[in-house]
């Protein structure tokens, strides 16, 4: 089975929610739609589910036009941000509800419900009402209900966003495992780059209703086509510094000079924007050509297992990342290093012209 979106547009009272969206989803594929809040992710899912109709464009399933087909007649399942369950039904009845409308024998329903409940580890909660469950358990119930009927299209709209981070971490890993056992096309929206990376598969980066880039998740992460994609697909935010290339040397910030390596040596002189991911600012010198930046810590943000060091340089707000948890006082001085192999280079039109090659990053360690 395959789903194809052709020229999808959606405008609601003059506001453009989606513009010229063309996408193909293959059977059994895992797809992430990444974008900030209001980028049009939910609109896209709702159109795919058949809950909303596109203003313009068609949706084909296996080559058949289903644009106007009612949601009841489609083989879809959806999980929302909010924990949506039928409050008056028990967990068991909730999970069984999509099967009851399809006329499957009772014993078969029972088997399927217990199966999926086991997979999501809510098999001991089947007699409870949703209101008696924790947020995590409620969302597990909603996911179980979406999974139980083996829909061909499984849509998940930021399903983990309202959970505590520990629960989010656990469910993410479990979901990945569960998805891999399914034949359905999974479409999963998120605002979080780390979540997108973890789920892998294909990614579509959406911004203001338009597709900025699609491809395999790793390829897009390594080669963001534009400044905007790099921005959306980085957490903490990727650092941008305006500058120029002069005689095979990148010059940016307060006179930071980095001699270019490899293919980048072929770039013509001129103005460029340089992008450096936060984890590519190093606290120690790795190579003889590394450039050095002196900075004052503005805030050290501690995110689980990393420390994000926020600092200012030449009027830009930058972030560096250090593994582990380390105390930094506001205002203390740090020295950071930039390696030539870790630069993203964008032309004045904000399009990517060179990216660090994975080989080069790996080679550095040896």
């Amino acid at each position: 089975m395959g789903v194809s979106l052709q020229d999808i547009n959606r405008t609601v009272s003059g506001e453009i929610h989606l513009a010229d969206v063309n996408l193909e989803f293959e059977s059994g594929s895992r797809n992430v739609i990444l974008g900030r809040t209001l980028a049009g992710k939910t609109s896209l899912l709702r159109i795919m589910a058949g809950l909303d109709r596109p203003t313009k464009g068609r949706i084909l399933i296996d080559g058949r036009d289903v644009t106007g087909v009612s949601v009841r007649k489609r083989s879809v399942a959806m999980v929302y941000q909010l924990f949506i369950n039928y409050p008056s039904l028990t967990v068991y009845q909730n999970i069984a509800s999509p099967l009851k409308t399809s006329g499957i024998p009772k014993s078969e329903i029972d088997r399927k419900v217990r199966d999926i409940a086991g997979m999501l580890r809510i098999d001991d909660l089947l007699d409870r009402l949703p209101a008696e469950l924790s947020g995590g358990q409620q969302q597990r119930t909603a996911i179980a209900r979406a999974m139980v009927k083996n829909a061909e299209l499984l849509l998940m709209d930021e399903p983990l966003v309202n959970l505590d981070y520990k629960l989010r971490e656990e469910l993410r890993v479990e979901l990945q495992d569960i998805f891999s056992r399914r034949q359905a096309i999974v479409v999963y929206t998120t605002t979080e780059p780390t979540e997108a990376l973890l789920l892998g598969g294909n990614i579509t980066v959406l911004d203001e209703g338009r597709i900025l880039q699609s491809g395999t998740t790793q390829a897009v992460y390594r080669n963001p086509a534009t400044v905007k994609v790099a921005e959306v697909f980085s957490d903490p935010p990727i650092n941008f510094l305006g500058g120029r290339i002069q005689k095979r040397t990148a010059v940016f910030g307060q006179d930071i000079r980095v001699p270019l390596e490899g293919d980048m040596r072929n770039l013509p002189d001129g103005d460029y924007t340089f992008g450096i991911r936060s984890n590519h600012f190093f606290l120690s010198k790795n190579g003889p050509t590394d450039a050095q930046i002196q900075a004052q810590v503005e805030l050290a943000e501690i995110n689980g297992s990393e420390t994000f060091i926020h600092f200012h340089h030449a009027g830009d707000r930058l972030v560096a990342q250090e593994d582990g948890i380390h105390p930094y006082r506001i205002g203390s001085a740090v020295t950071l290093y930039v390696s030539p192999g870790c630069l993203f280079v964008f032309d004045p039109e904000d399009n990517l012209v060179a990216a660090p090659s994975v080989d080069r990053i790996h080679a550095k360690a040896v």
């Binding site: 809040t37 924790s134 505590d164 981070y165 520990k166 971490e169 990945q176 605002t191 780059p193 780390t194 990376l197 973890l198 892998g200 790793q218 992460y221 980085s234 991911r277 936060s278 984890n279 503005e298 805030l299 050290a300 943000e301 501690i302 995110n303 689980g304 297992s305 926020h310 990342q321 593994d323 582990g324 948890i325 380390h326 105390p327 506001i330 990053i361 790996h362 550095k364 360690a365």
Partner: protein, 361 residues
């Protein structure tokens, strides 16, 4: 400004608590030093909000005493304790202007109007609220509203401590950073005692100099963020701090070696000696970031199988199986990952032993 002392505090919501399990808080003993930035961190239901309400005076504990600068205030209501509190969602006087909102606590205490004006402007300046002073509070964005709530605490020159109850819950993610920074700045500037309740490790670890981790009504560890990460004193802290959390393996000790099923993991002599004397269930713990993965057999390496690799961009999470147990290792972007067979090295200085959940030390 005050030093807050919790003396043998316990609290139960049952009228006649029978046993341990009826208590939402079990015997808390702690001193909050004047001018500290504290965070109370724990999952929902761990008792952190109960503890906060006992400090603020909204709840009277079943047992124990609360002392402010040595004076017993256990029975005093919040208004007599000189504390300020910022709630989960912004609590404002909708019909008043921002200025009047900020002035409200001072006017209620009969401060003369010149002084009120001076204090309000000072605080508005610190919080970047000056342009809004004459606007009605109702129409402002959530982050500005939350700053007003904080401002109502800051205007009072006599305030002993400011308590925060998950104050960033309703703030847009991209604005949280600004507010966190602001809080940190204000603390540096004013040196007030801040107590910050949250279930979010990022907020707690970023904000606080000292983090109090709570679990099932008990304080399981108090320490600096780095302490909690490097030296968790309880398996819960190991699990809760860091993403992903610590790896734990059930094991038995044989001399200086921990046996986990078939695998033999060498330990530090001192740790192993103490471990042999400990009672209860023994677990070995190591953080994914400290677990080293090698593609060739190395001295002291434990063979394991690579099951799955999750590429996180700046690093990879490698899921390995070691005699049926799953372990996770965090490998930097620049390091290679073995295809199938791997050898795990447990660095002695980062390998911890826990007995019944508590660190053996």
């Amino acid at each position: 400004m005050a030093r807050i002392e919790l003396n043998e505090i316990a609290h139960s919501y049952h009228p006649n608590p029978a046993d341990e399990s009826d208590y939402a808080l079990k015997r808390i003993q702690y001193v909050w030093e004047d001018g500290g930035a504290y965070a109370l961190l724990g999952p929902s239901g761990c008792g952190k909000t109960t503890l906060l309400n006992i400090i603020s005076g909204l709840l009277i504990p079943t047992r124990g005493k609360v002392l402010y600068d040595g004076i017993d205030v256990t029975g005093l209501p919040p208004e007599k304790r000189n504390i300020a509190q910022v709630f989960q969602f912004p609590v404002l006087y909708d019909t008043m202007s921002v200025f009047n909102n900020l002035a409200f606590p001072l006017r209620n205490r009969g401060v003369e109007s010149g002084e009120v004006d001076r204090r309000v402007r000072e605080v508005a300046d610190i919080l970047d609220l000056t342009p809004y002073l004459n606007k009605r509070a109702e129409g402002l964005a959530a982050d500005a509203k939350q700053k007003i709530s904080l401002g109502r605490g800051l205007v009072r020159s006599d305030v002993a401590a400011i308590l925060f109850d998950e104050p960033l819950t309703v703030i847009d993610p991209h604005l949280k950073w600004n507010l966190r920074r602001k809080l940190k700045d204000i603390h540096e500037q004013l040196k007030l005692t801040f107590i910050y309740v949250t279930h979010d490790q990022v907020e707690a670890l970023t904000f606080a100099d000292k983090v109090v981790v709570m679990y099932e009504g008990e304080i399981v560890q108090i320490g600096s963020p780095q302490d909690l990460f490097d030296n968790p004193e309880h398996t819960f802290v190991g699990y809760f701090i860091g993403s992903p959390g610590m790896n734990f393996l059930d094991c038995t000790l044989e001399g200086n070696v921990a046996r986990c099923n078939g695998a033999r993991i060498p330990l530090d002599d001192g740790v192993a000696a103490k471990g042999r004397n400990a009672q209860g269930k023994i677990e070995l713990g190591i953080r994914p970031i400290h677990l080293q993965v090698s593609s060739v057999a190395v001295d002291g390496g434990v063979p394991a199988n690579v099951k799955m690799v999750e590429d996180q961009g700046s690093y990879r999470l490698v899921n390995l199986t070691l005699d049926g147990k799953t372990l996770r290792a965090r490998v930097p972007e620049s390091e290679p990952i073995p295809e199938d067979q791997a050898w795990l090295v447990f660095p002695l200085e980062w390998t911890r032993l826990f007995a019944d959940g508590r660190l053996i030390k």
